[in-house]
Amino acid sequence: MPFNYLPLTDPQRREMLGAIGAGSMEDLLITIPRELRAGKLDVPSGRSEWEVQQHLAGLAARNRPLSQQRSFLGAGVSLRYRPAAVDHVASRSEFFTAYTPYQPEISQGTLQAIFEFQTLVCELTGMDVSNASMYDGSTATGEAALMCVRATRRRKVLVSGTLHPEYAQVVRTYAWGPGIEIVTVPQRDGGIDLAALDALLTGDVAGLIVQVPSAFGGLEPVDEVATRVKAAGALLAVVADPISLGLLEAPGRYGADICVGDGQALGNAMSFGGPHVGFMACKEPLLRQLPGRICGQTADSRGNTCYTLTLQTREQHIRREKAASNICTNQALNALFATLYLGLVGKEGLREVANVSLQRAHFLAERISQVPGFAPAFGIAFFNEFVVKTERPAEEIVRALEARGIVAGFPLSRWFPDLAHHLLVSVTEANSPDDLDAYVEALRSNHLAKVAV
């Protein structure tokens, strides 16, 4: 059977073998020991393009995407509006079929886009320098922990108990190899416990990782946290939601030394959890400890302004075992999605996206608290996600509302078994006022139905 991605014809193959001076393909494989040769691979037979397309459409149809439901599910990934031009432009072959811009003379498109991405990240976070991207928010957080250790030469990192648990797990995995100690600062009323933080901030602490808004949606007391971390001579790494930074203070302005986060919300598809994009930025004194690719401005031989990868002596292909990280391939295309998104929504648009999310979330939170059987779980201020205390187990409520085409949120019991009556609810600009009404109505009738039984 012919394969459409393989252009060589049999006569051409023979001609090429002739040019090589080989009698057959086998002559080219003589360096592979006979006894190692594989039998037929246990994978299906090849299919035509139409069959491939049909098969994948069939698998996709076995999923029920959020686009077909009213969704209040967030917890690190959110359904937000993706302007049409984002995917359209980022899908240009010249972007997505190029690789890392090792040859700046023929990669200025990618390089300038990275330079713009770095600028956007600095503008959002209030940091001095940004890298070209990380795999995602969780791995950027892991790298932030390692960066604190390199920069301070201390071996312990504190992690807020309100950090996204999957991020915290990644931090632990990253820290385990080099033997860095990770200590969790407990949460109290949905926020970081400041008294516990005081007790844990000893002289051997390299840094604290805190998320704003937190995994519970809470707006942490950043001033109090920053003052304490500074006093202990440690670094403050903030995990931020980039959309929220349209309204919330830039972490660089309240004392963060490192700011990381996930850029899925910036024009990237949810895509069942990836590919998204991590961002990572820091204050200037930490620049040499920043992992990953960095793009810089320079000039060409004709004096034109242009861009190139730079400061590569931090990186694995130059420094090998002495590199700041092993990262090589990152998430450049997803960073381009974010760049396009921010370019399109612009200064005013980002504020609006943040504000619509904030206002609708607070409106919904209040409405839900009026439904019997539901109450705010924590007193802490929040942005666009909040935790509802539920009379019945949250998991049951999610299951019941799924049947009505509503994804009610994230039951926190999946992260914390002792929070079985806690539901994390997320609201974005992609939840219309009509969605909010339907949600409240469903909670109300579902509750009543249960009571009647």
């Binding site: 190692l36 069939g58 200025q108 791995t139 190899g177 694995q316 090998r320 391939t329 619509v356």
Partner: protein, 483 residues
Amino acid sequence: METLIFDKSISGRRGVTLPAAGVPERPIESLVPAALVRKEPPGLPEQSELEVVRHYTRLSQLNHSIDTGFYPLGSCTMKYNPKVNEQAARLDGFANLHPYQSPDQSQGALQLMYELQQWLAAITGMERVSLQPAAGAHGELTGILMIKAYHESRGQNRRKVLVPDSAHGTNPATAALAGFDVVTVKSDERGLVSVENLREHLDDQVAALMLTNPNTLGLFEEEILSIQQLVHDCGGLLYYDGANLNAILGTVRPGDMGFDVVHINLHKTFSTPHGGGGPGAGPVAVGPALVPFLPVPAIEVDEQGRYFLDADRPRSIGRVKAFFGNFGMFVRAYAFILAHGAEGLVQVSRDAVLGANYLKARLQDAFDVPYGQPCMHEFVLSGSRQKARGVSTLAMAKRLIDFGIHPPTMYFPLVVPEAMMIEPTETEGKETLDRFVAAMRQIASEVESDPDLVNGAPHSAPIGRVDEVTAARRPILRWQPPR
């Protein structure tokens, strides 16, 4: 050149309209603590949709890409990225699926991941697969941490990871990131791991040997069976860097060579687009010894054929990434494997090997070929002869740009002076290979007749030779608003 988007910004413009809140609004100060109310908005550009589209479309035109020209960048496997894969990844049922939806609502995605794991296990000859790592280097970290967990589970704290001098930089960087001491193993005169030198480093402190096979010189490690025996005999494990897996699909499997863990670059061998530097995907496949240590969650299927996630794996190294990995890449890789099938995958590797050997044969009189044996999917030339005439590999690489061809990987591996690492991939026709041969031969003759022409290259790129030294000495890493 294109002005930065920030310098094109006109206050008051916007590129997309957004919905109004539609609910009673409250002052931000009443909802957000004072310390967190933003005083100054981020300086995002303000532009119309057309201007944004035009800006980035024009930028795209400054790039070389697979879809615009030959891209024989060694070790990166710049093969064609099929368009049906792009279509599939954008299907509503995949693109708009949230990782925390219930398994009832995501059976299609879980099935795809489960089957992809099975296929990758079959292709690599391994027992189990985790799709979680986001890229090759991330897969390496996952694999090396599993090796660490394995030794610890046996009460051993082995300190050393052995890495050949021809290895990718990610190998030693990964071992160091995982807390190991890196020990370099020398190559011999045939470009292969020196078994003699390897023996000298083998002791009860060796946790693993990391190996790429075929190696970065494009050569198959012929003594792999004795190498694996030696390492295993001293209690160490073997790590397979799958960067060069494209050479051996259906020909030989890492599991059969004795490797204990493999990472697979879906963005190389399995055609997912490189995206200007990512996203990649770096699944790891393991042999029986390492199964208990795989990252969580695992994807399982029950007797009713229902797929589910299993996070209850007490000996797991934990999580290496939030959620399940770069799922969008899994869709594309799945489509690639399905399109080729078992027979097609074999042909992929055969054609990749044939193309590389063809180029080598047609260039061997014009350039130095450091190693004579047949190569696999890539090969390395040395520009030493041309360097002696005053023209470096860098200059020749830049000259290739004038022919519309992306330069090969240069100055790597480090064991070959003035190295040019060339990987054509199976998706290039003979006409393209012949054009490359003609360009390379012309450049070789220009080195003799007109070295200045080569040294001044590129002549036809959007910009001239870039000053990378100044970029590093005086770093300008972001746009600054005019004062």
